[in-house]
């Protein structure tokens, strides 16, 4: 079983790489032609564009064309996007627990229903404290306990701050699941249920599918969307605009309403905190406390299967920023 598996994988990889290289070359040639051929007709509309190395150009708008960067190779997926430090801010005052983020994420990543890469908890830190909704993606910690314990470098931290899993490398020891204090990781306990269309998509650690039995998966901050200049799907899908996403180096985060804010300002104005700061994991996800909420507070007795919130140490009044 193992041998045949391996063979098909490597053949598929080969085909996939060949195809990718082909597309990349064609795409870039077309792009250059469109941008630089002076013979084409002039237009009055000018657009200002940034080149990837930070230079500013003014070009005719009708000379611009859609350019989709090819998905990175496995090695590229391990390195990450240069110059970026991705960061997420979740505004608990705006979250009404509708779980649209979870649904978008599950649809986009083709996850099974019991795997919620971003999960909305109902929390209440103590009897006397208010209950609130708590959406929890992977925190993409800067001091990740999960990547430390991985014996084969299947889960890794990239230069853009994202923590990913390579399911072609994962040996399924589940040390990372034991090590993650946020219960963020999921395991493919059986043959994953996925359609033919999904299995035909070439695998990349940047989107995590097609998934494989016996390997770990988790929230990936959607780097394949970021490469297309789009937001992670949970950010886009939040009807309340409660999730902000952006680049810490640019100090800018944007939400689904298209509002862009200074990250530092958002943190300062709202006294943001990070979950379980005292564990020293340095999460890349910030929370804004549920102050002046725009929604009714969750009913903690609503769902009988919910356990009482465990951790009193992370109460809102006790932030250490």
């Amino acid at each position: 079983m193992n041998n045949s598996n391996k063979k098909t994988t490597s053949r598929r990889d080969f085909l996939q790489k060949g195809l990718l290289a082909g597309t990349a070359i064609t795409a870039s040639v077309i792009g250059l032609k469109k941008v630089f051929s002076e013979e084409e007709m002039q237009s009055a509309d000018k657009s200002i564009v940034f080149s990837p190395n930070g230079k500013v150009f003014t070009v005719d708008t009708n000379k611009l064309c859609e350019y989709t960067a090819p998905p990175p190779t496995n090695d590229g997926a391990r390195i990450g996007i240069a110059g970026k430090k991705f960061v997420m801010v979740i505004d608990l005052a705006k979250c009404d627990g509708c779980k649209a983020c979870t649904e978008c994420c599950q649809a986009m990543h083709f996850t099974e229903p019991d795997k919620e890469w971003i999960k909305v908890f109902k929390m209440q830190d103590a009897e006397t404290l208010i209950p609130y909704y708590f959406p929890k993606p992977c925190f993409h910690c800067d001091n990740p306990p999960c990547t430390k314990v991985c014996p084969v470098n299947a889960t890794f931290k990239r230069q853009d701050g994202i923590v990913l899993i390579d399911n072609e490398r994962c040996i399924g020891c589940r040390s990372c699941m034991a090590a993650c204090p946020y219960s963020t990781r999921f395991f493919n306990w059986s043959h994953p249920v996925q359609s033919k269309e999904v299995t035909n998509i070439p695998y990349s650690p940047e989107h995590g599918f097609p998934r494989r039995m016996g390997t770990v998966e988790k929230c990936d901050f959607c780097p394949h969307m970021i490469r297309q200049g789009k937001m992670p799907t949970c950010v886009d899908g939040c009807p309340m605009g409660a999730i902000w996403f952006g680049d810490q180096n640019e100090d800018a985060v944007t939400n689904s309403e298209g509002i862009t804010m200074r990250l530092s300002q958002l943190i300062e104005d709202n006294a943001a905190y990070r979950h379980l700061e005292d564990l020293g994991t340095e999460p890349r996800v910030y929370y804004l406390p549920p102050k002046n909420r725009k929604y009714p507070k969750p009913d903690m007795n609503e769902q009988p299967q919910l356990q009482k919130v465990k951790h009193g140490e992370m109460n809102m009044g006790n932030m250490q920023m």
């Binding site: 430390k148 991985c150 014996p151 084969v152 589940r174 034991a178 090590a179 306990w189 059986s190 465990k310």
Partner: protein, 454 residues
């Protein structure tokens, strides 16, 4: 210890022949019981292999493991095997170095338990892997900062050293089998011949063997301590409340010595009865092992106080859920039975001489060993089920853990596998190291052989 026997050469010769006859007798005869026993073990192993086949083809879904209790009985079983494998180093090495002459007849029992347990520790961890087909990645892509890699290194090293620790003192015994078991089939005689490495009992060979055994006795102690400490670090290096404990290393080592001693007592009792070795494994040995067990129970109790009562005094929120679960919650009956029947009661009862007789001691050791297995279960699953964030929006069966028949079958097969290796070993090699026992009686076999040949 080098006390010379007052026996005459003739008496020494008689002693040597009696001993030879006694240790070779089980190799020469086979009872219906031993055949039934082997048949039983092979059946259990067969069922386990079938269960593993089911697990391989359907994935770990066939276990009760889910995303919260992602480690369970396999990992508990792994720690248990590592734990009992420490008995080899304790009995053979520490008692050897501290000059307790009474340990000679039981060293080999301890050593073969150690070797077979550590073998199956390695196997059971592979069973727990989601992708056993990628096991070689551990060597291709290993990262030294991973506790799993530390474990691979120490388990492999400990296996090698404990194997040599079994093999070197075995050489004179293999040579004895080669020379005396002439009625055995050809392949078996050939095996003895190869394994004996041309042993003819000359002075240089004795010198090498004794020196190697001495070196290994010293080498195996830090290794044994490190193997179980590293196993404890698999847990203690995480941030999980309940595992996040600086006490874990010594706590595991202390528990391992207790569990290992329990296993050796069981081994002594079974071999004594089955192979009629009452003359060599005497009540005196049980008495001493009982005393040793009191001592180890008390040490383990000390570490348990540190592990449970100190955090319980503070009752930090994160830890309180797991501690309450153990003290008064769902796991309470298991926790208190283990602590009382598997640790406290043995320490008290074994203070009294009548309980250190073979039969009561064997019964107590049995409870200690079962308690030791369950203790490792308690250390793994309840803690995984008490994470920092509440367990919400998941199917009900994710919130509890109780192994499925597949897990139970595979674990039973691994236990049967350990017993099978020990049984097989004892059918081919003397389970008592006769030359060492004679040496303990002041008879130098090398000298005696030289004198009698002349």
């Amino acid at each position: 210890m080098e006390h010379h026997s007052n026996l005459t050469i003739e008496q020494q010769k008689i002693e040597r022949e009696r001993m030879r006859a006694a240790v070779l007798k089980p190799l020469r005869t086979s009872t219906i019981w031993s055949k039934l026993w082997i048949f039983f073990l092979v059946t259990v192993i067969g069922i386990g292999l079938y269960a593993y086949y089911i697990q391989l083809s359907n994935g770990l879904k066939v276990t009760a493991l889910r995303d919260y209790a992602s480690w369970g009985a396999y990992i508990s079983n792994f720690i248990f095997f590592v734990a009992i494998s420490l008995c080899g180093s304790l009995i053979s090495s520490i008692l050897r170095l501290t000059n307790f002459e009474w340990h000679w007849p039981i060293t080999r029992i301890a050593e073969i338990i150690a070797v077979s347990a550590i073998m199956f520790a390695g196997l059971i961890i592979i069973v727990d892997m989601g992708r056993p087909d990628r096991i070689y990645y551990l060597f291709m892509y290993y990262r030294l900062q991973s506790p799993i890699v530390w474990d691979v290194v120490v388990v492999a090293t400990y296996f090698t050293v404990s194997f040599l620790f079994l093999y070197f003192p075995l050489l004179p015994s293999i040579a004895m089998c080669r020379d005396l078991l002439t009625e055995k089939p050809k392949w078996q005689r050939k095996m003895y011949k190869i394994l004996a490495l041309g042993w003819d009992g000359n002075h240089a060979q004795w010198k090498i063997v004794k020196r190697c055994v001495n070196i290994l006795s010293i080498l195996v102690i830090p290794l044994a301590v490190s193997i179980h400490t590293v196993t404890a670090w698999l847990f203690a290096t995480t941030l999980r409340p309940g595992w996040d404990s600086t006490n874990f290393g010594p706590y595991f080592v202390a528990g391992a010595f207790l569990a290992g001693t329990g296993c050796v007592i069981l081994g002594m009792a079974v071999f004594r009865k089955a192979y009629h070795l009452e003359e060599y494994i005497t009540e005196r040995h049980f008495n001493f092992m009982g005393k040793l067990m009191v001592f180890l129970c008390l040490i383990y109790t000390y570490f348990n106080v540190n592990e449970y009562l100190v955090p319980a005094y503070k009752m930090k929120v994160a830890e309180s859920h797991h501690l309450n679960e153990l003290f008064t919650g769902n796991e309470a009956w298991l926790y208190w039975s283990i602590q009382i029947i598997g640790m406290a009661l043995p320490a008290l009862l074994l203070l009294l001489k009548p309980f250190r007789k073979p039969i009561p001691l064997t019964v107590i050791a049995f409870f200690v060993v079962v308690g030791a297995w369950l203790k490792r279960y308690i250390i793994v699953s309840p803690i995984m089920l008490n994470p920092y964030l509440p367990i919400q929006n998941v199917p009900d069966n994710w919130k509890h853990y109780f192994p499925t028949w597949v897990e139970i079958a595979i674990i039973s097969a691994s236990l049967a596998g350990v017993l099978f290796i020990i049984t097989l070993f004892s059918r081919f090699f003397p389970i008592i190291s006769n030359w060492e026992v004679l040496e303990g009686k002041g008879i130098d076999l090398e000298e005696l052989d030289e004198k009698t040949q002349k």
